[in-house]
């Protein structure tokens, strides 16, 4: 005879199991609902023109957002050039040298505060230090605003992933008679690299969707932006401007822009993981 558990325990087990199940389904459900909804609305306006043509004036149908796609990529490139090196090197400092000292505490505290600053304030900051002195909106100002927004998450995620590398790995390196900087650069950081990269991708994904800091830095542009000192279109700002117009055709394009933004972010994430995975196992 198999012994049965008391009713109370079976009941508790059943309730808790259903509860965790419901929560799991909710989390996954919301994600797939958003993905599905955006795909459903966006796919109809998505054609070759969307990727190759400039926006059409009001009243004409068709056209695309080629300039905004390139614009978003340019802004993200600029943001990464600022956010990734500062964040990464800062994270290395915090994990290796600033675990307990005052400077480490200050950097950590500053990064957490910076992370809490509303993104529109970041826009005003970039507006004040770049747009006002230059006298016009620019790609540069937008990239700087996004780059500064990237720093706190890049710092803290790099720090956390480096700290996760076991002390025994570090000691094995030191035990071989290698100077500390070599152990950190060639043994500890490579061991944490996958995590650091994931952190940076998430960070990029976050700023890729930022609209507020771009409104008065990069502004927008109905045409191609030449160089880095002119205003530039970006997908989030296009979505914002198109979605609040009364035109049906622009609404559909806004959905399509949302879908493209999503694919860009997810695609970059998946590709970086695949490349890294292949390099480590191959």
């Amino acid at each position: 005879m198999t012994p049965t558990l008391p009713l109370g325990r079976r009941l508790t087990n059943g309730i808790m199991l259903s509860l965790t199940g419901v929560c799991t389904v909710t989390v996954i459900g919301v994600l797939f609902f958003i993905l599905g909804y955006i795909t459903y609305h966006g796919i109809s306006a998505l054609d070759w023109n969307f990727f190759t043509k400039l926006p059409k004036p009001v009243g004409e149908t068709g056209g695309g957002m080629a300039n905004a796609i390139v614009g978003t990529l340019k802004l993200l490139l600029l943001a990464s050039l600022i956010g990734v090196p500062i964040g990464f090197i800062g994270g290395v400092y915090l994990a290796e040298y600033g675990r307990k000292n005052t400077i480490g505490f200050l950097i950590r505290y500053a990064a957490d505060l910076l992370n809490g600053i509303p993104s529109i304030v970041m826009g005003i900051f970039a507006y004040t230090i770049i747009v006002l002195p230059m006298g016009h909106f620019s790609t540069l100002a937008g990239g700087v605003a996004l780059g500064i927004m990237m720093i706190p998450i890049a710092v803290r995620s790099a720090e956390e992933f480096i700290k996760l590398v076991p002390a025994t790995i570090r000691e094995a390196g030191l035990g071989l008679g290698l100077p500390e900087w070599k152990v950190v650069s060639f043994i500890v950081i490579p061991s944490a690299f996958r995590g650091i990269l994931t952190g940076i991708m998430l960070d990029l994904a976050r700023v890729a969707g930022e609209t507020a800091p771009l409104l008065f830095t990069a502004f927008s542009n109905r045409f191609w932006s030449r160089g880095w000192l002119e205003p530039i279109a970006s997908l989030p700002v296009m979505i914002y401007t198109y979605a609040i117009t009364p035109y049906e055709d622009w609404h559909r394009q806004a959905w399509a822009a949302g879908l493209v933004l999503l694919i860009l972010v997810l695609g970059a994430n998946v590709i970086s993981r695949l490349v890294l995975h292949r390099r480590l196992t191959g």
Binding site: R99, K100, P166, T168, I169, E171, A172, G173, L174, G175, L176, G177, L178, P179, K182, F186, I187, P190, S191, F193, L280, T281
Partner: protein, 253 residues
């Protein structure tokens, strides 16, 4: 007769204010295996970590006393700990191959990261040390696979090969078999008996049979003190100190 490789005098070590090693003095002979036994927390791991200046990398850890490696005090003024660690290699309790590196790269790491770039030199040293570590035949086909893909016993021999590749004079082993099964353990023990022809070996172990099987000299640690040190046969069959006798006969609480 062999000559002393490590002469340790009145070595003390602390973690913060906690005094974990008290006035330990012993002399390890060249090309011999010296085993250190004792219950957990008695300071034997800390002791060997003082011998390659690895103790001091822990925050708040401090040392006093003198450790002479072939006559030079490794705690003397102006001595670079990096150079000491080059001469005194270490193998840790848990196998810890570098996770992002292949078998080959693990063994080559010490040389490569200190400037040896020539492929032929590296190839030769990798094969030679893997053979010394009795691992070559098992891994020669998978040299470019991740070191972490090997079994636990193979990983530990890989770590021994990695330590040997930089040609240290002394090899420290901190309970190298405690995470391994008996078969892997016996392979490591056979290996140690071969290695002692070339290197001076200090091994920390929980396993008294292991100490009795492989070592020439044994030291018994208790509560941070070296209670007794002597030839292995003598220490196990005719201990001078009552506490040693209690410990090796298993009468210890």
């Amino acid at each position: 007769m062999s000559k002393p490789i490590l002469e340790i005098e009145r070595l003390n070590a602390w973690f913060g204010t906690q005094h974990v090693l008290k006035d330990v003095s012993l002399t390890a002979e060249s090309q011999q295996i010296t085993a250190l036994i004792g219950p957990s927390g008695c300071g034997k791991s800390t002791f060997i970590r003082c011998l390659n200046r690895l103790h001091e990398v822990v925050p708040d850890a401090t040392v006093s006393g003198s450790v002479k490696l072939s006559g030079t005090d490794i705690y003397g003024p102006g001595v670079d700990p990096v150079m000491i660690r080059r001469r005194v290699g270490m193998v840790f309790q848990k196998p810890n191959p570098f996770p992002t590196m292949s078998v080959y790269d693990n063994v080559a790491a010490g040389l490569r990261l200190s400037g040896t770039r020539r492929r032929a030199v590296l190839d030769e040293r990798v094969e030679q040390t893997l053979r010394q570590a009795a691992l070559w035949d098992e891994v020669k086909e998978v040299l470019h696979k991740s070191g972490a893909s090997l079994s636990g016993g193979q990983q530990q021999r890989l770590c021994i090969a990695r330590a040997l590749a930089v040609e240290p004079e002394v090899l420290l082993l901190d309970e190298p078999c405690s995470a391994l099964d008996p078969i892997a353990t016996s392979k490591i023990e056979e290996l140690l008996l071969v290695l002692k022809k070339t290197y001076s070996v200090l091994i920390v172990t929980h396993n008294m049979q292991q100490a009795a099987r492989v070592s020439d000299f044994t030291g018994f640690f208790l509560l941070g003190e070296l209670v007794e040190f002597g030839e292995t046969g003598q220490l196990f069959t005719n201990p001078k100190d009552r506490r040693t006798e209690d410990y090796i006969t298993g009468r210890f609480g």
